[in-house]
């Protein structure tokens, strides 16, 4: 077992290959109906957004409440590319990532001068401005939404049902997580954390604060853009400005906060739990928003480090016990 752990530590990519194989088997083993596949695809999309949001908020410490706008940019890039150029996911996905990255630059600029609630307000305004621009633009099909966005066809097999589309969303999610891990475990990731803890000290240590803030926003936006494109192609392939409101943004933030800010696994765990809880409370529609709001408040009050905090504590305790045990022997 220790040898296996050592191999995974040396070649983290192998871990993702194993995860890929396991996740490929999940539907046939655990899923009993197509709705669970739909939910799994949604979880994958939410994980991509949450992993990106964790970079800018959890690791770089920049408050952003406008990410849903960039998510919309990704979706509408895909939607418009289909509508006007007839493009499929394999073209719309990189384009959405690229264009969302450019929007990330625009969102990063206020962070050079603003912090905390002021930055939150600026990004909130940016996100809402994007949504309203889409909603009022005939080019974006305004409030009619864009429909019939096609699902990819691989080797003649259309991935046009929830169970099949899972096999598109899941690998993209794994690639996104791998990329997120690679960045955050690199010197760039450590620089992000230094900026989060104290920008002045970070600057004194030779870290280019502006550059790293910009990088965090751009990377994070690329994740959101990619997720947006995957969402646009999710069967039945329909996007509408109503799906990119502040409520959706709060849901994304809740995923990161619940999972644990600044924990690599935080956003992922948060995205899984929040999406499932949201679904389970669907029949309790009268109380759903109340339950959801209460969960966020209680998490912040009693679990400020989120689930990631518990995981960290578990590993620290285990390591401590192992070391103290070895010392006493």
């Amino acid at each position: 077992m220790d040898k296996f752990k050592e191999i995974i530590r040396q070649y983290p990519f192998l871990g993702f290959v194993i995860a890929f194989i396991i996740l490929m088997l999940v539907p046939s083993v655990f899923f009993t109906d197509l709705y669970q596949s739909h939910l799994a695809s949604l979880i994958c999309i939410n994980i991509i957004v949450a992993a990106g949001l964790n970079i800018v908020k959890g690791f770089c410490g920049q408050v952003t409440v406008g990410h849903v706008g960039i998510y919309a940019v990704g979706s509408y890039t895909a939607g418009c590319m289909f509508l006007y150029l007839g493009s499929g996911l394999w073209l719309t996905l990189p384009a959405a990532i690229l264009i969302a990255g450019l929007f990330g630059v625009a969102f990063a600029i206020p962070s050079f001068r603003l912090e905390g609630p002021y930055l939150a307000l600026a990004t909130l305004g940016g996100g809402e401005a994007i949504r309203l621009f889409i909603e009022n633009g005939d080019f974006f099909m305004s409030t009619y939404g864009i429909s019939n966005i096609p699902q990819p066809i691989i080797f003649g097999v259309p991935f046009d049902t929830p169970d099949k589309y899972y096999y598109i969303a899941m690998p993209i999610m794994l690639i996104a997580i791998y990329f997120s891990f690679s960045v955050l475990r690199s010197s760039v990731g450590r620089a992000f954390m230094a900026v989060r803890e104290d920008p002045i000290s970070a600057a004194a240590s030779g870290i280019n604060v502006k550059k790293h803030k910009m990088l965090a926003f751009v990377l994070s936006a690329m994740f959101a853009g990619g997720a947006g494109a995957v969402y646009a192609h999710l069967p039945p392939g329909y996007i509408h400005p109503n799906n990119y409101t502040v409520i959706e943004m709060v849901t994304f933030l809740a995923m990161v906060v619940f999972g644990g800010l600044g924990h690599i696994w935080g956003g992922i765990i948060g995205a899984i739990i929040i999406t499932i809880v949201y679904d389970l409370t669907r029949p309790l529609y009268e109380y759903q928003l109340f339950i959801f709001g209460l969960t966020i408040v209680l998490t912040i009050l009693f679990m400020p480090k989120g689930i990631g905090g518990f995981i960290d504590k578990y590993f620290i305790d285990r390591r401590f016990k192992t070391k103290t045990g070895a010392a006493s022997k």
């Binding site: 409030t143 429909s147 679904d279 009268e286």
Partner: protein, 398 residues
């Protein structure tokens, strides 16, 4: 001991799951995806729940209990799609009712078509929905393709063709104004004297209204959701647009909040809807009285359409149930065919509702009789008069 407990618990769980599945197999399941945000939205939900409870207390559908699964879609397409997928594949319903919003119903259509679940629409009016050609969709309300004609013709012939349009970025509102503009252009060769798209949830329409006033229109169209329509109507008097300018609204004006909140500004407002609370037929009077006493509101056409839907659905389910084989796919097909067989249903709608087998708009836009209504009194005790009804042929407006 621990092992025994685990084995016992597992057995209990298995037995209860088996019992549940057997019980479920006997039930007829109806799924609902609905906008339950406002007070009135919840009341629509209550109407469905109460009606189904009444069915169950009087023996259900041919003795089978009806299981109602109600989800809120908040008028968001993402939630509507999730609800449709859940209802079709997880809850295994026989029929879906929904949604209230066209922008939600439209993306639900490919989901239910793939899953082969019949869906019956209580409120969405956008003509695009039935243009999808799905064999699994049925619409009880009047399609926007009929509304646009009746409203445009009524306005042009009674008020004039100099029409100013103010609409908000909402699918039904935009669809109404744009269709009306296109029809007036086609029929009378006249462009609107003023056309403006206001912002989402606009609170101040005065700048638009002042510009509209400057064009000296014969009619002013305020096409929005409830709050926007009310504000637009009230502010049209505040900016001094004379009473002689006819006020027109989309079918949203049939909602009780519009005359209640607009007060005097509602007087003279004309709109096309599927039902008028001032309808003097005994069935309509009885319904208005019932809704008023049970839910405390004067029913608009959203209530009447839901009532009609449920009234026609019950015998359709009874007929379909006789041919149920226990296989969900064929049972759903039986329900679809049974609904498609409804002809000349006479309920609260101002004309008969008929469906047929093909998945075309001609077959699935069941109600082809919009009624032109005008408010004669605003405020809490609002009153309306029926200006006229027209029954269109099935292909009108396509």
């Amino acid at each position: 001991m621990k092992k025994i407990n685990i084995i016992f618990s597992s057995l209990l769980l298995a037995v209860s799951l088996l019992v549940t599945s057997v019980a479920q197999a006997k039930d007829i399941k109806i799924g609902v995806s609905f906008r339950m945000l406002s007070d009135v939205g919840y009341k629509h939900g209550e109407l469905i729940q109460d009606t189904v409870a009444e069915w169950n207390s009087s023996g259900g559908i041919n003795g089978k209990k009806v299981d109602l699964i109600l989800y809120n879609d908040e008028c968001k397409s993402e939630k509507g799609v999730a609800n449709a997928t859940k209802l079709a594949y997880q809850d295994n319903v026989h029929v879906i009712i929904g949604s209230s919003c066209s922008s939600v119903t439209l993306p639900m259509v490919p989901v239910i078509t793939k899953a082969k679940v019949p869906q019956i629409i209580p409120h969405s009016t956008s003509s695009k929905i039935t243009l999808t050609g799905s064999e699994w969709i049925f619409r009880v309300p009047v399609s926007s393709r009929f509304y646009k004609i009746v409203q445009a013709k009524f306005t042009a012939e009674n008020a004039g063709t100099k029409i100013a349009h103010i609409y908000v970025p909402d699918q039904a509102s935009m669809d109404f104004s744009k269709s009306m503009i296109a029809y007036v252009k086609d029929e009378y060769g006249v462009d609107p004297v003023y056309e403006a798209q206001a912002g989402e949830k606009e609170t101040d329409f005065r700048s638009y209204l002042l510009k509209a006033k400057a064009t000296n229109p014969d009619a002013l169209v305020c096409s929005g959701l409830v709050d926007e329509t009310v504000r637009c109507l009230v502010q049209s008097y505040e900016v001094g647009i004379p009473k002689s300018v006819a006020r027109v609204a989309n079918s949203v004006a049939s909602k009780v909040e519009v005359p209640t909140n607009a007060g005097k500004a509602a007087v003279g407002v004309s709109y096309a809807a599927a039902f008028a609370a001032s309808d003097t037929r005994p069935i309509a009077k009885k319904f208005v009285k019932h809704i008023k006493s049970t839910y405390g509101v004067v029913p608009g056409h959203d209530f009447s359409q839901m009532e009609d839907l449920l009234t026609m659905l019950k015998p359709a389910l009874e007929k379909a149930e006789k041919g149920f084989s226990g296989d969900l796919a064929s049972d759903r097909k039986a329900v679809r065919d049974s609904i498609a067989g409804i002809t000349n249903f006479t309920g609260l709608a101002s004309g008969p509702i008929s469906f047929c087998a093909a998945g075309s708009p001609e077959c699935r836009d069941g109600n082809r009789t919009p009624v032109m209504i005008e408010y004669t009194k605003g405020g809490k005790n609002w009153k309306t008069k029926v200006a006229g009804t027209v029954t269109f042929n099935a292909s009108a407006g396509l």
